[in-house]
Amino acid sequence: MSDLVVKVGGEGGSDSPTTAGEFITSTAIREGNSVFTLRTFPAEIKGGLATYQVRMSDGAVHSQGDGPDVLCCMNQESYDELFRELRPDGGVLVYDRDSVTLDDHLNGCVAYGVPLSSIAADQIKERRTKNMVLLGVVSALFGLPLETLKQCVQDKFGKRNPDAVALNHAAMEAGHAWTQDNVAKRDSFGFTSNPAMATVRRIVVDGSEAVAIGAAAAKLDVYAGYPITPASDIMHWLAQHLPRLGGTMIQTEDEISALGVVLGASFAGAKSMTATSGPGLSLMVEMLGLGVMAELPAVIVDAQRGGPSTGLPTKCENGDLNLAVYGAHGDAPKIVLAPADIHDCLHDTIGAFNLAEKYQTPVIVLTDQSMAMRTQAIERPDLGAVKLVTRKLQKKHDPHYKRYALTADGISPVLLPGSPGGPYYTITGLSHDEEGNPATNDGDLGAAMMDKRGRKIASARFESGWSRLFGPERGQLGVIGWGSLEGALHEAVERLNAAGTAIRALHLRMLSPLPVEEIEAFAASVDKLVVLELNYSGQLQRIIRAEMDLKPGLIRKYDGIPFTPGEIEAALRAEV
């Protein structure tokens, strides 16, 4: 099985390393590889260090891998900043010898210097094709099929800009030719196609597109949002496509308004959603409480970034769980989900709409920066097979109808505004009676309504399919994880089990309500329990401790960069 991690670094901008990385990714996918990408961005809009890492394998890949096997440095800064990441045992450095001066110590790495800049400037007469020259070099060195690379370029620019295609093709060929003529391969890395896989129906999307597609598949009617990194791309996709699909996307004046529009639309019967990141979620807290109190279905996607406050806007953290679970004054239980990969981003968004409708509640979906900006080939969803849930409706006119009827399961049928003949009702954020009328002097009724909302949400923990298990039936150690680290955790668990340590992992995608029975069963199957998280305080670990008679340990990381499998492996090894 081939498994190759390539990282490209250079200045963000027109000859960007990001574009190069994207073409490597799409080529690998067409060649039937699984890929896993990881991008970093500079704070500057233009300029600054941008990187794009792609792991490709003709088998399955779950994570970005450990350090890159191949590092391509397009300028000095990228070499200075990234060289320490290159795997020390024989990693390969490809660099622009026109602009990069190497250190004395290569740590046993193989270095290929290529005059990327001068090939682009002199042969192609267009400096900005430097990244395309690099692609030719990579193709020649590691066997990434040049024709497929060229086809990807053709498909991307072809219609709009045939001149660009010609120029880029020339640059790739020049890079390829120079390498074949001048470089003697001294490393053992290589790319392998997987023709079988190439025929499977897949779509290539990043986490943002996956969420948006999921929402569209769930028949989203109204999207309202305010731009924020790394959530904006969801809005951009919907701006483009939602009208075509019969829905409406509105960019509001702020996040409070966005959730206000969403709740208003939901009241009127629409499936509605907003997406934001931490600062926006903080602003939505009052509206969230209203959604819980008024029992309105709504989906709120939070693409988490580094916090607190403006924090690390282009970095990755899973630190908004507390806010999602506890956000809102008073007790306001709601459903909180966390997709773990790009496939989940699509399907869990559909699931979020279903849960929102079924339980008549705001559902928060926690994704993160790494998923929002990571491209992956996932199985094309079978839209015909998607099951959608609609809120329990009161369809017939019934003079005794009560909007907030105190039912056994806490779910009261909804008579939608517009329904003929009423009984008319007004919903309110005040404590109310079964009809919806303010009942602010009746504490017992207020408590009964609190119980209703509480038991309704609590019962959602028995929904199935919101977790995944890895490893053997029993373990010396059990790891509970959540969020985007699943892939790395999966890989670490496989390695450790392969090395003879029995480790199980339970990866949760529903965090509120907490599936306590499931966690109990898992805990019973292991000797020791630890929670793995990408935040400072161990937010899930604290919630588990708060709700259950368990005292798991904690492994955490909070420097804005996802775990590598190696890091997890080392940390887990230390626990057993």
């Binding site: 409406t248 208003g264 009423g422 919903i427 309110t428």
Partner: protein, 294 residues
């Protein structure tokens, strides 16, 4: 106020009182808001509005208790957020007639950031701002429209007076690009009813500042009555700059219709247009979109 109009057996002609719910208003005796409630019921009766299709949205305040007192659908949301919520209702189901009712604090203080945007987007709704120049529900603090200093001094939050320059709601609505702008006075029921009626018929964002005094904390009836004056017949209702000058006139508080632009496309028009435009004849499907990602 689960008042039922038994389906199929509605009265032939609905009277104003048929639009009232069973809930008794919690307002103080003499509160200006009673007049507005009566006026809205009369407008509904006059236009024989179908209550099935009306949604009244409000924030929080004495005036924001409004929706519950009428027999149609309502959403009493949170302080300052009636306009976003109402925008959501309007977008979700363009068949619904959306009425927004709220106070000066609700709309011009905590909600001040939403007003410009609902107006410039021309959301299809009628916004009645019940202006009593005070925070009624929280027991009488000054609001952004408080003008009378001697009254302001009695407010618990400004015992030594205030120097803040009050906001002119009609002036703002015009600056924000509202497509219908009017002012009325709850003490003049006939004119109030007629203005609300026209606002409710307007397609797009119609704004009515209703002077609606708070008899408990800021009883401005006495000082207001001599200041108001009906807008002259010759005022050109399509001239926004002229309307602005009228709004900023210092001598009188003009009542009536300041401005109307019946032709501006509404937010609903825009989105319906987008849907048509995007579909371009052939129905778009998600499958077709997914093809691009394959």
């Amino acid at each position: 106020m689960a008042q039922t109009m038994t389906a199929g057996s509605e009265p032939q002609v609905r009277k104003a009182k048929d639009y009232r719910s069973d809930l008794d208003p919690i307002w103080c005796p003499g509160c200006g808001d009673f007049g507005v409630l009566a006026a809205v019921s009369e407008v509904f009766a006059e236009q024989q509005v179908n209550p099935d299709e009306v949604v009244i949205v409000s924030g929080i305040g004495c005036s924001s208790r409004f929706p519950g007192f009428l027999s149609c659908y309502g959403f009493h949301s949170v302080h300052g957020r009636a306009l976003p919520v109402a925008t959501g209702v309007a977008l979700a189901n363009p068949k619904l007639k959306v009425l927004v009712v709220g106070g000066d604090g609700d709309g011009l203080s905590i909600g001040a950031g939403h007003f410009p945007h609902a107006a410039r987007r021309n959301v299809n709704l009628t916004y009645l701002l019940l202006d009593n120049e005070i925070y009624g529900l929280t027991k009488g603090q000054i609001s952004p429209t408080t003008t009378d200093l001697s009254l302001a001094r009695k407010a618990l939050s400004s015992p030594h007076g205030t120097w803040e320059q009050p906001i002119n709601p009609v002036g703002l609505a015009l600056s924000y690009g509202a497509s219908y702008v009017a002012r009325a006075y709850s003490a003049q029921r006939k004119e109030l009813t007629s203005v609300i009626s026209r606002a409710f018929r307007h397609q797009g964002f119609s704004f009515v500042q209703v002077i609606s005094p708070c008899t408990t904390f800021y009883n401005s009836y006495k000082t207001m009555t001599p200041r108001v004056r009906p807008i002259e017949e010759d005022h050109n209702i399509h001239d926004r700059n002229g309307a602005l000058m009228l709004a900023y006139d210092r001598k009188h508080v003009w009542l009536g219709e300041f401005y109307r632009d019946p032709d501006r496309p509404t937010l609903t028009d825009q989105f319906e247009h987008l849907k048509q435009l995007a579909v371009g004849g052939r129905p778009a499907t998600l499958e077709a979109v997914l093809d691009r990602y394959s």
